[in-house]
């Protein structure tokens, strides 16, 4: 059983991503990384896909990482950490290492949902003892807010801008959490930095589970979302409370919703503070807003059904 998390314990732990890194003010990613590392009870070695987090935390000759860390390329964080983990198993078997070490890969949604999907799928299927953490800000933010397969329907991006003819992204988001769950790995979950205790419990559970694990964590980007710098946590909370980003886990095939809003908020509460959706509030786009709400209601209903279908009696 994982040890219970307490604030007291957390307040005494060392923060393993130091201050002084060069992520933007208001970025969700370093908060997510700090929470993930704080929740770990084991020594950790991390891999990092090319992206905002990587370019901003290790600019030679400085590093913000107090743990062993490796960046290889954009699409291969999962393959890279699978190599590190395999060497660990080899050296442990040979008696050259005695410590228990855990392995985490961090990637943004571009490096995970898109270019890194094959590498991630391969690593999950091979059964490495590793946790993959996707910090999902819904676009290629590092290169300047280009559309990814994680970009929400209708969001304005620089490669699918909301114009007079096309209202931003015309396709639905890919549901990567479900895709990884379909690999039948022991643990996948969605989390949000607004619900930090939920996030950290999930990390701790993942760390105590042998085999491949996947965590998809929403990570607001005020540059790409066109929102206020100090609204990041509020926006990630609204994502949860509107059920745009439901908090749930699938543990050994059993779905459990870990947070159910007392009163599900309308999706406009999440969309309104974000400039990337401002075109949706023009009179001609009222139908699109309705469609977004319908999609969310349907998916939330489906998730609740999944939870009841498979819950152990």
């Amino acid at each position: 059983m994982p040890k219970t998390l307490t604030l007291k314990e957390l307040s005494r732990k060392e923060v393993l991503l130091t201050a002084g890194h060069r992520m933007c003010a208001g970025c969700g990613a370093p908060t997510v990384v700090k929470m993930v590392l704080l929740a770990c009870d084991y020594p950790v070695v991390a891999a990092n896909a090319t992206g905002c987090l990587e370019v901003s935390t290790c600019i030679s000759d400085y590093t913000a990482w107090k743990i062993p860390w490796i960046h290889n390329a954009f699409e291969n964080a999962a393959a890279t950490i699978s190599g590190v983990e395999t060497m660990y198993r080899s050296l442990k078997k040979q008696g050259k290492i005695d410590k228990d070490i855990k392995f985490i890969a961090f990637g943004g949604d571009g490096g995970t949902y898109d270019i890194g999907l094959q590498s991630l799928s391969g690593a999950m299927e091979r059964g490495h003892d590793m946790l993959y953490v996707c910090y999902d800000n819904g676009a290629y933010m590092n290169t300047g807010i280009q559309r990814s397969s994680a970009t929400p329907f209708c969001a304005d991006t620089t490669t699918r801008p909301a114009g007079s003819k096309i209202p931003g992204k015309t396709e639905q988001r890919k549901n990567l959490t479900k895709i990884i769950a379909a690999h039948n790995v022991p643990y996948v979950a969605q989390a949000s930095p607004s619900h930090w205790m939920d996030l950290m419990k999930k990390v701790r559970k993942a760390m105590d589970t042998q085999g491949p694990k996947f965590l998809d964590i929403i990570s607001p980007c005020n540059r790409g979302w066109r929102s206020r710098t100090d609204d990041s946590i509020m926006l990630s909370r609204l994502a949860v409370e509107t059920c745009f980003w439901p908090l749930y886990e699938i543990e050994n095939g059993i779905t459990k919703i870990t947070f159910k809003p007392k009163e599900k908020k309308p999706i406009v509460d999440f969309l309104k503070p974000q400039g990337r959706f401002k075109h949706l509030f023009k009179p001609e786009n009222v139908g699109l807003l309705a469609k977004i709400q319908e999609d969310i209601d349907r998916e939330w209903g489906r998730l609740q059904k999944e939870e009841t279908c498979f819950s152990p009696q």
């Binding site: 070695v45 960046h71 291969n76 590190v84 395999t86 060497m87 080899s90 094959q118 590498s119 391969g122």
Partner: protein
């Protein structure tokens, strides 16, 4: 005591890898390399090696996992061919730029399109400027010997670069030859223990691999890597000396065959060099002073030494089993021409493209080329600087 065996090139390389006994191997199937990793995998299944296998979902992930495993702190191998090497291309630079001594046999095969699984050198030639050491092998024995030596070269403290060991697809990888194997203990002692300098798994000394380096320092890092390249040739020769003591087989940066007093010569890589040597002998029997140079260390290319070895010739034909598109000459030709450029009196040069996609290279081709060189020495004129041979008109 050497053990005499009859094995394919793939089998010989797999056996060398077994004797080296690496910590981690990433494997992915591709013709004509597949047999090598299959055989190695059976060594793993039978507990004959300590190696942990990663059965990856692509060659891109294969080399990516090797980078992670090598940085983690141990000896790492993979093997590939053709499209697989092409898919690895991005990570080839990362492996060399990160100074990770991964060893990778490359069973040379043509590149698509059109799709072709047979032997030519397009794959490794496309990777010749990626910062990897390249050792080329004429036959199964050389592939075996080069594989063992590659670890010592790549892991040398002055070098720490990844290395490819090239052999011709099918012609060598799938042909059974007589070979001499070294004893397991001899190989183990020869390669020794490998110690990674800054292992990722050293928790007491956490390091960050793969930083962003901006214009203020990027060039210094590149220069440092270029400086290392200049030290490779000496290490290759030192390792070859030790290897000769153990095996009795002599290796250099390249092999010269009846070249010292030659007037005309061929420069040719890998298996076709063997065919060419027979034809050189026939010309010698007719009183024509023919010779041959076969590069072994192709990257970094020993320009100075090759130039010295060839400068006295009157005419040379460089035979390339890969073309460089864009109106260029074959890659080997470019290197030979560069080697000879500093000399005031240079041999006349011609370039022939041969054997693409597994097209047979026959003694008749070598004869044709040597006859042309005889004509060139007589007339002093080159008709075609570059030409395809053994091709339908």
């Amino acid at each position: 005591m050497a053990k005499i065996v009859a094995v394919t090139g793939n089998e010989a390389s797999a056996n060398a890898l077994r004797q080296v006994n690496p910590d981690v191997c990433a494997a992915y199937p591709i013709t004509p390399q597949t047999e090598m990793m299959q055989r190695f995998a059976s060594f793993v299944s039978d507990g004959m090696v300590k190696t942990e296998l990663i059965l990856v979902e692509s060659e891109h992930s294969s080399l990516s996992a090797c980078v992670g495993a090598s940085a983690a702190g141990g000896r790492v191998i993979t093997a590939t061919s053709s499209q697989g090497l092409a898919l690895m291309w991005e990570i080839l630079f990362i492996a060399s730029g990160t100074r990770l001594p991964i060893v990778m046999p490359v069973v040379n095969r043509a590149l698509s399109a059109p799709l072709n699984i047979h032997g030519d050198h397009s794959d490794a030639m496309g990777a010749r400027d990626t910062g990897w050491i390249q050792l080329w092998s004429e036959n199964g024995q050389e592939a075996y010997d080069n594989t063992i030596q590659a670890f010592r070269i790549a892991e040398h403290m002055d070098i720490r670069l990844p290395a490819m060991v090239c052999m011709d697809g099918f012609i060598i990888s799938h042909s059974i030859e007589r070979l001499e194997y070294l004893e397991d203990e001899e190989v183990r002692d020869f390669v020794g223990e490998f110690k990674q300098m800054y292992p990722l798994l050293d928790l007491e000394h956490p390091v960050s691999y793969g930083p962003l380096i901006l214009p203020d320092y990027y060039m210094e890092y590149r220069k440092a890597q270029a400086d290392v390249e200049s030290k490779v040739a000496k290490v290759v020769l030192d390792v070859a000396k030790d290897f000769e003591k153990m095996s009795g087989r002599k290796y250099g940066l390249f092999e010269t065959y009846r070249l010292d007093d030659a007037e005309i010569g061929l420069v040719i890589l890998n298996s076709a060099a063997g065919t060419s040597k027979d034809t050189v002998d026939e010309f010698r029997d007719r009183g024509i002073r023919a010779g041959l140079l076969k590069p072994r260390l192709y990257r970094p290319f020993p320009y100075g030494e090759v130039g010295e070895a060839l400068k006295h010739l009157k005419a040379i034909c460089v035979l390339d089993r890969a073309d460089a598109f864009g109106g260029s000459y074959g890659p080997l030709f470019l290197d030979i021409a560069t080697s000879l450029y500093p000399y005031q009196h240079k041999p006349m040069l011609v370039n022939k493209i041969y054997g693409l996609g597994g097209r047979d290279y026959l003694p008749a081709h070598a004869e044709l080329v040597l006859n042309e060189l005889v004509d060139i020495t007589k007339t002093g004129a080159v008709k075609n600087l570059k030409e395809y041979i053994g091709v339908r008109e």
